[in-house]
């Protein structure tokens, strides 16, 4: 991949692009700093706003908007996250200008019609109920609440709760949109069947017309100190138990990030879920899935383990997870393991950047976290520069049973499961 182009438009929006001519369409991914972190105490309003951006503009009803988009075969989605309101879509080269015009109109002039607010309210209420009935969602939500306590934006449910969903008014949504959605802090990453002319005429031009005096990215406070908790959520009508274990990790810009990312890969991701998967799935047959995740954000991060197990195997599975975490001290990653991990990360550049959607996501991450447009060129050197000792050291520092919280949800009794 050539070095991506980066342009700062007159209104402050940043446009990043890279051609991927072998894929015959255009994909984009973007964001504005209007996620959960921007809503302050007004819990749930960011989610409500994101879900309403396809519900009509001052010029087009919701129905006309979807007719227009789908009439040209384009897709457009808005999604709320802890830090960002993100958007993504696909279109053909010929329909790019029209798609970006619609995107800009949705961002700039949403109508927030009352009937759509009612519809989204019902949708949110149903989603809260559906997630409350989902063992994995329950366990992960409770884990996030433990790792990021005191209503920190990384720990709370972006949807708010049933009470908040009932109480949010149109005026709350309009005010949130006016304050937080605009060109300031906007990033748009574009890839696929693009060239300079298309970028300038079909994308930069309409994007430049986006106006607003939004406040830009909010300062996200560092997460409060984590006190490990054990939480059991009995759901007797379910068949399987979901286990979520985790602890604070680091922000994306932290010096430990790259080594921690490699340690995470080796512990619970590489191949069929690294050391963890080999033990729980391959050797003992305890779980269909048992893997780890590393979420690194601006002000903090979380490392977590997810596993789905039969209730009869819960104690054994948790003990095995603990044993694997402790093994990192007694039998640290071997030089061969670390070498395999390095090779995997470097090789995955070719494999993971073969799709438009993945390239657009990577370009967006590079800009958002300030990694630099030459990040992918530097990446192999970054990875090769991680010593075996450094990778072992961060694994031992962050993957610690006594410093981790655990949440289990499923057909279990109220008795607590401890790590």
């Amino acid at each position: 991949m050539n070095l991506p182009d980066r342009t700062v438009l007159g209104n402050g929006a940043v446009l990043v692009s890279s051609a991927l001519p072998s894929n015959p369409f255009v994909a984009f991914r973007g964001s504005v700093p209007a996620g959960v972190a921007a809503e302050g105490d007004d819990h749930g309003v960011a989610e409500f706003t994101a879900r309403l951006l396809l519900s009509g503009t001052r010029r087009m009803s919701a129905a006309k908007l979807s007719d227009r988009l789908e009439g040209i075969g384009a897709t457009l989605e808005f999604r709320n996250g802890e830090e960002l309101l993100s958007f993504q879509g696909r279109c053909t080269r010929d329909t790019t200008a029209e798609t970006i015009r619609i995107l800009v109109e949705c961002l700039a002039r949403p109508a927030f019609p009352a009937r759509e607010i009612d519809r989204v309210r019902k949708e949110l209420e149903n989603d809260v109920r559906i997630e409350a009935d989902d063992t994995r969602s329950r366990a992960m939500r409770e884990l996030a609440r433990s790792v990021f306590p005191k209503d920190h934006p990384y720990g709370r449910d972006p949807k708010g709760n049933a009470e908040r969903i009932r109480r949010i008014r149109r005026s709350d949504i309009v005010a949130f949109h006016a304050s937080h959605v605009g060109p300031e802090g906007l990033i748009l990453a574009v890839t696929g069947d693009v060239d300079r002319t298309l970028i300038d005429e079909a994308i930069a031009a309409p994007l430049s017309r986006l106006e607003g005096d939004n406040v830009g990215a909010p300062r996200i406070p560092p997460p409060p100190a984590h006190k490990p908790r054990n939480v059991s959520i009995p759901m007797p009508h379910k068949t399987q138990v979901d286990v979520a274990i985790g602890a604070p990790a680091v922000p994306r810009s932290h010096d430990d990030y790259d080594a921690l990312n490699l340690a995470n890969l080796l512990f619970g991701r590489i191949g069929l879920y690294g050391r963890l998967g080999r033990n729980l799935r391959d050797e003992q047959g305890l779980a269909y899935y048992a893997f780890t995740s590393l979420d690194a954000r601006t002000a903090g991060g979380m490392w977590s383990i997810s596993a789905g197990v039969n209730p009869a195997n819960l104690t054994k599975a948790v003990a095995s997870i603990r044993a694997e975490m402790e093994r990192l001290r007694q039998e640290p990653f071997t030089p061969d393991e670390v070498r395999d991990g390095r090779d995997n990360e470097v090789g995955s550049l070719i494999v993971s950047l073969e799709r438009n959607a993945e390239v657009a996501g990577e370009l967006h991450r590079m800009e958002y976290f300030g990694l630099g447009m030459d990040y992918l060129e530097r990446f192999p050197d970054i990875v090769q520069g991680l010593s075996d000792g450094r990778v072992r050291e961060v694994a031992q520092k962050y993957f610690v049973p006594s410093a981790s919280s655990i949440a289990v949800a499923g057909p279990i009794a109220r008795a607590r499961v401890s790590l």
């Binding site: 053909t92 989902d134 009995p234 759901m235 069929l272 789905g308 197990v309 195997n313 990360e345 799709r355």
Partner: protein, 426 residues
């Protein structure tokens, strides 16, 4: 796109699609074996065999596949469907021989170590139990079980729990030996390679493999359904669900393109293989307008199950709180009647076709997705099935949409499952 097709003497079909400007390679092997080839008592065996084929054999020790692909930064997986099973690796193109070696060993030399078979029993049971946690799975299993009394589409690819609990190593291994042979498989390569060179490497890897007797043709034919079948599931859950399935013909039938357009008008289009669509949901279709816009439902989708044998077109609805299943069913009936009574407006038909056209491009997003599309198509009968089907959908007229609605969306051929969500005990 240029595609090179050739067969080896042992019956293996080879499909090569070179993509200039890419350094990645996606290698797929599709076997014409799915849960439709199973018999009662052995349900889920095809899927279990798929799991066993990651555990080595021949030149590959346990864990070797994992290691070889991981070192390359590659991705790999496998999928068991009712009609076919497919395996893939996406790796740097320079490592083609690694993928070909893995797949040729997998085709004939899997170990099926008894200890590993036993360890995998609880893994497949766990996969099923994870699905059982979702009310949608109960609805899906009920729908197919009710709609098909004779044909093996009666069960889903994961199989029944009691079969998974009791199946032994020997029938699984026999199942493997019987169906994993070059004359029952196709190798598909998509990515950065020279076709002549790739063909030579494929030959070296697979030509020595011995064919088996061809699998018996499917003899089971589902008799015509004569009267609607209904089921009510009463279970703890977060929302009421409604699922309706109508019998449709096999993939190769001449009505399939018109049914694609019908499905799109009714519920939108998310591609032939829904992997590429992710969470995106179409909104400009009739059921979204009638059910979600009107706040009776929070989600609705139409799935045309394109299969080797006659199958189903399925509507799934997640009801909003307070909406009644009876009312939603009435609205669904009304929309189905509308399709039978009138011809879709030109603008609606154009929009449906534009969606199908656009998704035909989006599904070409990189070598892995192109590999999926070619493999699914090959599993359904021919590697170019998907591409030619979508081209035929372009030519569908409004009258044909109305006609297939009249022919297939009839009450006597419908199966309806209603999930009545109960409050869960704390």
């Amino acid at each position: 796109m240029a595609t090179h097709v050739e067969s080896l003497d042992n019956g293996l079909k080879v499909i090569l699609r070179p993509i200039p400007d890419t350094k990645a390679l996606s290698t797929w092997v599709v076997y014409h074996i799915g849960s439709r080839n199973e018999v009662p008592g052995m349900t889920g065996s095809t899927h279990w065999v798929e799991h066993m084929l990651f555990k080595g054999g021949g030149k590959l020790g346990k864990g070797d596949i994992d290691k070889l692909i991981s070192r390359l930064g590659g991705k790999m997986n496998a999928f068991t469907d009712t009609d076919y099973t497919m395996y893939f690796e996406t790796i740097p193109a320079s490592a083609m021989d690694t993928a070909l070696m893995i797949e040729s060993e997998r085709m004939r030399n899997a170990a099926f170590d008894p200890k590993e078979v036993e360890a995998e029993r609880t893994v497949v049971l766990s996969e099923r139990e994870g699905a059982e946690n979702q009310p949608e799975f109960a609805v899906e299993e009920e729908l197919w079980g009710l709609a098909f009394h004779v044909h093996p589409y009666h069960w889903t690819a994961i199989g029944y729990k009691q079969d998974l609990a009791t199946l032994d190593r020997e029938p699984l291994y026999r199942h493997y030996l019987r169906f994993y042979a070059p004359n029952n498989a196709s190798v598909i390569l998509v990515g950065g390679f020279d076709p002549a060179v790739a063909m030579q490497h494929v030959r070296e890897a697979f030509a020595p493999l011995r064919p088996e007797a061809p699998p018996d043709p499917m003899r089971l034919v589902e008799p015509e359904q004569r009267g609607e079948r209904r089921s009510d599931i009463v279970r703890p859950g977060p929302a009421d669900l409604l699922s309706a399935g109508w019998h449709i013909p096999a993939a190769g039938h001449e009505d399939t393109p018109a049914l694609i357009v019908l499905s799109t008008v009714l519920g939108g289009w998310r591609g032939l293989v829904p992997f590429a669509a992710g969470d995106w949901r179409p909104r400009s279709n009739r059921l979204y307008r009638a059910l979600v816009d009107s706040k009776l439902a929070t989600d609705v989708g139409v799935r045309q199950e394109i299969k080797v044998d006659p199958s189903l077109v399925i509507v799934n609805v997640t009801l909003a709180e307070g909406a009644s299943l009876d009312h939603v069913e009435e609205v669904l009936d009304r929309e189905v009647e509308r399709l039978k009574e009138g011809i879709p407006a030109k603008s609606e038909l154009d929009r449906a076709k534009q969606q199908v056209r656009a998704w035909a491009r989006y599904e070409q997003d990189g070598v892995t997705f192109q590999g999926i599309l070619l493999s699914v198509s090959e599993g359904l009968g021919a590697w170019d099935f998907g591409e030619s089907l979508l081209a035929k959908a372009e030519r569908v007229r409004g009258e044909q949409v109305r006609d297939v609605a009249r022919r297939y969306l009839v009450d006597a051929h419908r199966t309806l499952v209603r999930f009545h969500a109960q409050e869960a005990a704390a």
